[in-house]
């Protein structure tokens, strides 16, 4: 009988680079920057790492295929290193590999590191991610903003909201993240932006404007995990443990069957329910202390509040406008600025979210510190609303 991951694995060290347009460095330098912070935080010798997972997504403009980039850059001594790639859930998948390896008892100490160097393309936005040979012939030439813009249309239609109402809630979401980003020294974008500026920004893919879209950034983030016993033996007192790790991937029903209105994420709805069960959370609206969700676009964040079962269906705009998710709200969301302002180097994002939750849980979040958090939730959404990879992770204080 499976018993889930709760409290079987401890995070003893994390690191994260400055995110942004890192014209000065490539993926290799980003790997070292994240890793050095991480291993110093863990307080172990690098020889103690027995296995590693590398998360990278768009290999064409990044480090190429395979896990060689991580192994070669850090000169890891002939240990197993595995590359994970699952769109925007790539980083969380790398973390999941390391966590499961420790939980299985196969290894004592493992490393997960996600890295993405995106700003070597010559243009703004993400490169397109191929969908296979049939899609090449049949799928619209869709960009990420376009794919998620359709979610805003579907959401507005489903709940009988005007696009103005939805846009206002979306603007509040982005303004909140910009404010949080201004408190976050490693964030890509650190300038507060008003809701008016957001509403009047140039259109990218109707109804999403420039400020509804997250940054395209370079960056890396890393985590070292071990068993709670080893964490304690290393002298760690307030260590953080993994409470839940769930992945749900579209089955094709959204894209091909007749029962979805392009208004929500079926995957997130299912994965979050399983995550709460795994973590022993009965009422997420009351028990989750804070979140880092996958705000690739403001509409994604809005809809995700409902799919995480925190806002009721159709009520997320109300919660947003009431400040429920603001830094001083009931459940602060994106305290570090989120994808929107901290940035979104795809392979690193999942681990970057965990890094922020980890800092907050250990009371190390500086000006944006949330009072006494117990459980932090992270969420990734890779792909498009109609076919995606969703991850939900919950980490918390070991005694929570």
């Amino acid at each position: 009988m499976a018993t889930g991951i709760k409290d079987k694995v401890a995070i003893i060290g994390m690191g994260c680079t400055k995110f942004g347009e890192r014209w000065d460095v490539g993926a290799e330098e980003l790997i070292v920057e994240a890793f050095q912070e991480c291993i110093e935080d863990a307080g172990i010798d690098r020889k103690e790492i027995q296995a590693a997972w590398q998360g990278t997504c768009i290999d064409e403009v990044n480090v190429g295929k395979s896990a060689l980039a991580l192994a070669l850059t850090l000169h890891l001594p002939y240990i197993p290193v595995t590359r994970t790639e699952n769109f925007c859930a790539t980083g969380t998948e790398a973390f999941r590999g390391a966590v499961y390896a420790v939980a299985s008892g196969a290894y004592d100490i493992c490393l997960a590191l996600g890295v993405e160097k995106l700003k070597d393309t010559g243009y703004g936005g993400l490169p397109s991610i191929g969908g296979g040979s049939l899609a090449f012939f049949t799928m619209p030439n869709m960009t990420a903003p376009g794919g998620f813009a359709m979610l805003a249309q579907g959401y507005a239609a489903k709940h009988g909201l005007s696009m103005d109402e939805v846009k206002k809630a979306m603007a509040h979401i982005s303004a909140k993240s910009h404010y949080n980003g201004s408190l976050s020294p490693k964030a890509h974008l650190q300038r507060p932006v008003s809701e008016d500026q957001i509403l009047n920004s140039p259109m990218i893919a109707y109804p999403l404007g420039l400020y509804d879209c997250c940054g395209v950034s370079d960056g890396a983030a890393a985590a070292i995990v071990t068993t709670p016993e080893i964490a304690r033996s290393l002298g760690k007192k307030d260590y953080v443990t993994v409470k839940a790790l769930q992945i749900a991937i579209s089955s094709g029903e959204e894209l091909q069957y007749d029962n979805w209105d392009f208004d929500h994420f079926v995957t997130t709805s299912k994965a979050s329910s399983l995550a709460y069960k795994e973590a022993g959370v009965n009422n997420p609206r009351e028990e989750v202390s804070m979140m880092e969700v996958h705000d690739c676009f403001s509409i994604t964040e809005l809809v995700t509040y409902e799919d995480l079962h925190i806002s009721e269906r159709g009520k997320a705009p109300k919660d947003v406008m009431e400040g429920f998710y603001d830094i001083n709200g009931k459940i602060p969301c994106q305290p570090d600025g989120g994808l929107k302002c901290f940035g979104h180097p795809i392979g690193a994002s999942g681990i970057r979210m965990l890094y922020e939750m980890y800092l907050q849980l250990l009371g190390r979040a500086g000006k944006r510190q949330i009072q006494n958090p117990k459980l932090g939730l992270t969420h990734n959404l890779g792909g498009f609303p109609f076919m995606n990879i969703n991850s939900v992770a919950i980490i918390g204080r070991h005694d929570a």
Binding site: G146, M150, F262
Partner: protein, 484 residues
């Protein structure tokens, strides 16, 4: 009885007023004011001779049993492929049966009528019972040239057969001359055209009367026996002069459509003929002749069946569905004459996997999906495992054609980041009547007029052109319908 069983037309909805063209190029070519009346039809950027031919053929096949079609002849001088049979692509797009003869008729503006004669003779031989002919052209002319104004884009289609004939073929006659009024090298984009006065006087005004008079004498007819005489000639004065020369009264002459769409190449004689059929009565005798290195002339007699033909766009309906094109530069951009910057993002060039195209040809070219024989769920694309969660039956799907089905918009966007010849790229998810859904590009629409729940119809379009390898990629797009 052998003759026309059905007809269909396709004139792209965009119309460029010739005065707009003149205003853009008057500084360079002031003399073009002489022909700057009315408007010309213009392909959207995602249309070409092949896609328009398919659309005209779809219109023609409305209400008919397409399983009975024995052959498909596609006529054009501007087909996308020199070698890869364009009629074969059209046949797959139309989801016609595999046991079929397909052929491209090309190399002359009379190729459409030549395809008709070949089809009639094949029917007469008894080897075939039903032949679909489509003629289509998207001709190019240089900026500021009279021909840029004379030409229009469009397609016409005729189903020729033995049952349910609406216009009986009573006779035909051809003449062929290597009259080089214009020519186009196989590798060139534009025609090289000789002096217009010579083309008019030695070409149109001599060759068309010769073919028409040849038909009359072959069947001992006089021009007065006909209710309509139909022949192309974009020189409006000579169009009338030919009538005078063959003894036809002005009322008998079918208009050359200069004002409404322009001269549509190989499709033009067929389109004019269809335009005449749309107003014809049982018993009417129609004389049709083409022009292009000779001429093919026909004698048709309209039957009682014409009243039974199901509703269709035809030429009249196509002409009525119009949207004015506001800019000459847009016309140039659509025809790849402007060189507008599409940015580094557009540089990504991928080869088109031809083995996939073959394996999935029904889905890609024909929009054929699957329907589960166990639970009845239609789905696109057709897959081995049924998508319905309560079913998941394996290997139980039969072909299911989506192209003729209406759908409703589930969601959509107008994407300014996506590379597009005509930004924003508009696309969305649509739900088909009767089940099944997919994501499609939208075309022939304006973003601000779209809404969730709006009806769309399918249209066969070009999605991309790989310049490096010369590959034309086709698929289906959704055309939003104006709400009544």
């Amino acid at each position: 009885m052998i003759g026309i069983v059905s007809y269909g037309g396709y004139v792209p909805r965009l119309r460029l007023p010739r005065m707009t063209m003149f205003q853009s190029m008057a500084w360079f070519a002031p003399a073009t004011i002489a022909v700057a009346q009315g408007e010309r039809s213009v392909c959207n950027w995602d249309e070409d001779a092949l896609s328009m031919g398919v659309e005209a053929a779809r219109d023609c096949l409305k209400g008919t049993d397409k399983a009975g079609v024995d052959a498909l002849f596609l006529a054009s001088t501007t087909l996308p492929y020199a070698d890869r049979q364009n009629a074969g692509i059209a046949s797959t797009a139309l989801n016609l049966k595999n046991e079929i003869l397909t052929a491209d008729f090309t190399g002359s503006l009379k190729a459409g009528t030549t395809a008709m004669i070949s089809a009639f003779e094949s029917l007469q031989s008894g080897n075939k019972n039903s032949i679909l002919v489509a003629a289509s052209d998207k001709r190019e002319a240089k900026a500021g040239y009279f021909y840029e104004m004379w030409f229009g884009d469009g397609a016409a289609s005729l189903l020729l057969g033995k049952e349910g004939v609406i216009a009986e073929l009573k006779g035909y006659h051809s003449v062929s001359y290597d009259f080089p009024d214009h020519y186009r090298d196989a590798a060139k984009k534009y025609d090289y055209i000789w002096e217009e006065r010579w083309i008019r006087d030695e070409g149109y005004v001599k060759i068309l009367p010769e073919a028409i008079n040849g038909l009359l004498s072959k069947y001992s007819l006089s021009i007065g026996d006909f209710s309509k005489v139909i022949y192309p000639c974009f020189f409006s004065r000579e169009h009338a002069a030919i009538a005078k020369k063959i003894g036809a009264s002005p009322q008998m002459v079918q208009g050359n459509m200069h004002e409404t769409c322009g001269e549509m190449g190989t499709a033009h004689p067929l389109a004019m003929f269809i335009h005449a059929l749309e107003d014809a009565k049982p018993g009417d005798k129609l004389l049709l002749a083409s022009f292009g290195q000779g001429s093919d002339a026909f004698w048709f007699e309209v039957t009682e069946n014409i009243a039974k033909l199901p509703a269709r766009n035809g030429i009249k309906g196509s002409l009525a569905k119009r949207k004015e094109m506001e800019s000459y530069t847009k016309f140039c951009q659509f025809r790849d004459r402007l060189g507008a910057d599409t940015g580094i993002r557009a540089e990504v060039s991928a080869q088109s996997p031809l083995s996939v195209l073959w394996r999935k040809r029904k889905a890609i070219l024909g929009l054929v999906g699957g329907r589960c024989k166990v639970c009845g769920t239609p789905q696109f694309p057709k897959t081995d495992v049924c998508v319905k969660p309560e079913c998941h039956a394996v290997y139980e799907q039969e072909d299911y054609e989506f192209s003729g089905r209406k759908a409703k918009i589930i969601s959509f966007t107008g994407d300014l980041l996506a590379v597009s010849i005509d930004p924003p790229a508009i696309y969305g998810m649509v739900q088909f009547e009767g089940g099944g859904r997919t994501l499609l590009d939208f075309t022939d629409c304006e973003l601000e007029k779209l809404g969730v729940g709006q009806t769309v119809k399918m249209s066969f379009r070009k999605r991309w052109y790989d310049k490096e390898r010369g590959f034309h990629g086709y698929f289906w797009k959704a055309v939003p319908q104006e709400e009544a």
